[in-house]
Symmetry: C2
Subunit: 308 residues, 2 copies
């Protein structure tokens, strides 16, 4: 079992799927035996990018230890966001752009995290450091990841490095950044085929914050009211998740990709924490968060601060 799996987090988004593919391509060029895999369904936005650049999605796996001894994590590090049997394999590398938490190894490893908006921006550097040219379709996927994570450069997580990387990648990929970017985001914002269970798990991440289990799910849309029209059914599904996972808080964040505001729908014993975190009042379990689009930079730190 000399092969190494490369994968991103559960409930994969565009950065997680494309980072696995892009890093696997690079590793293969360097003569290493790797395979990109995924831990969940490909969402509509990611599928749009894969179809556009004619790349197949990585293979789905639910566990890894039966196939490999070692893994490389991209776009995540926290254990609860990773594969269920992560404890049974050696983590050889991590390429990530998130905080570090609930992560521990017995041995030294290659860990490359940078406070940029997207894993693809770091991967582009690693390609460069290894003198490997980025093929057109991989550049297209990496560009898609930056557009996805930065909401077309509008998220506060987006750095100058991300913008420059995206520009260079769009040129290699031969796409117009704004036109392609908006089409891809719109494909992801099409939630018409989703059940309520899918809506709240599509891009959900679990965190341990000051002893409380918190899940923050986020969806992009062009019409927030449309997504929340079915609020009763959504709340039922959220409540089931809270009961099943023993969560103290479930925050469902619906982000308008056109005006960059979000509505948060919060349930759980620690529901009121949200009011303190964002200085808002929940009405019908909801509040408008003006200018909030980033889970990483605006939502998680605020809730964490309020819970601490």
């Amino acid at each position: 079992m000399s092969k190494t799996f490369i994968f991103g987090h559960k409930n994969p988004d565009t950065d997680t799927i494309t980072a696995a593919l892009a890093y696997a391509y690079l590793k293969k060029q360097l003569g290493q035996e790797v395979e990109a895999v995924r831990l969940g369904e490909v969402n509509n936005e990611t599928q749009y990018a894969l179809d556009y650049f004619k790349v197949e999605a990585p293979r789905y796996v639910s566990t890894v230890a039966d196939e490999v001894d070692s893994v490389i994590l991209v776009d995540h590090n926290e254990r609860q966001q990773s594969v269920d049997d992560i404890e049974k394999v050696q983590v050889k590398e991590v390429i990530d752009h998130h905080r570090i938490a609930n992560f521990e190894t017995n041995d030294p490893l290659y860990y490359r995290a940078e406070p940029v908006g997207c894993t693809a921006t770091i991967l582009k550097k690693i390609y460069q450091e290894n003198n490997v040219a980025i093929p057109k379709e991989i550049a297209g996927l990496m560009f898609s990841a930056i557009i996805s994570d930065s909401l077309l450069f509008k998220s506060p997580t987006c750095t100058e490095e991300d913008v420059q990387a995206a520009d260079a990648l769009a040129t290699i990929a031969g796409v117009d950044p704004q036109t392609y970017g908006l089409e891809m985001l719109k494909a992801g914002a099409d939630l018409s085929d989703k059940t309520v269970e899918e809506l709240i798990s599509l891009d959900a991440k679990e965190f341990n914050m000051a002893g409380t289990s918190v899940e923050v799910a986020q969806v992009n849309t062009v019409d927030i009211n449309d997504v929340l029209a079915n609020q009763t059914a959504i709340e039922e599904a959220i409540q089931q998740t809270i009961d099943k996972k023993q969560l103290g808080l479930f925050a469902f964040v619906v982000t308008d990709i056109l005006n960059n505001d979000s509505v948060i729908l919060a349930l759980g014993d620690k529901q009121k924490t949200v009011e303190q975190a964002f200085d808002v009042t929940l009405t019908n379990n909801q509040a408008l968060l003006k200018g909030v689009v980033s889970r990483k930079k605006q939502i998680v730190p605020n809730i964490q601060g309020a819970l601490a």
Copy 2:
């Protein structure tokens, strides 16, 4: 408080002290306001290197939050090896070559770990990536760090990258690797001026292994019997440390830098773990560990495995 402190672990060794100095120099060249500091006494080996290259030791600090808001860790990440008030400041960056454990942040950061033998080897790359020339005296200190961590390239932690970095740094520094390297190691192996309390704390690191607090102290020597001549007094000092820190195991490892064997002296409730870890029998609390020189690669993983 816009300044950032850069420091390595408690009970500093040559890599920790020189990495703080070398990274601070680089950061200053990049226009950042930083200061290298240290968390403990400079040992004889490090002092030899500092004197040889005419560089002043970093300033000693016992806490940091009264002076800065943010810090950069080099050569360590585990909380118990870092400054006492680490929780009160933001960790902006980590440059390290150890396992990751007991480390958590609220925010994304720059984290650069590589499974090489020495922090200096990673720093040399970062200099290169930033197109900053390494001055002669800084190159000398970085070379000293590689010699120290690799025991003149004989430790199993030493990689081809470390050897190549050391060669290049020795050339910049204008020293003969073997001659200078052996003189420096011998300066560190001179323990004649040390009290027993100093002997067991000079290069001691604390670990949490499967719920047990374990301290592993290591000293280099050219005569193991000479170091252990005073075994009764050493054991008394170790027992006091065990009682004070509630340790399950204290392992004092005395390494012969000429023949690359070590003797381990183990005390604590979990003393017998050492027999299992290294497949040896303790006699008079001691055992010879043939060919064992690396705490990181040979001692910690074996004890961790036996405790798990």
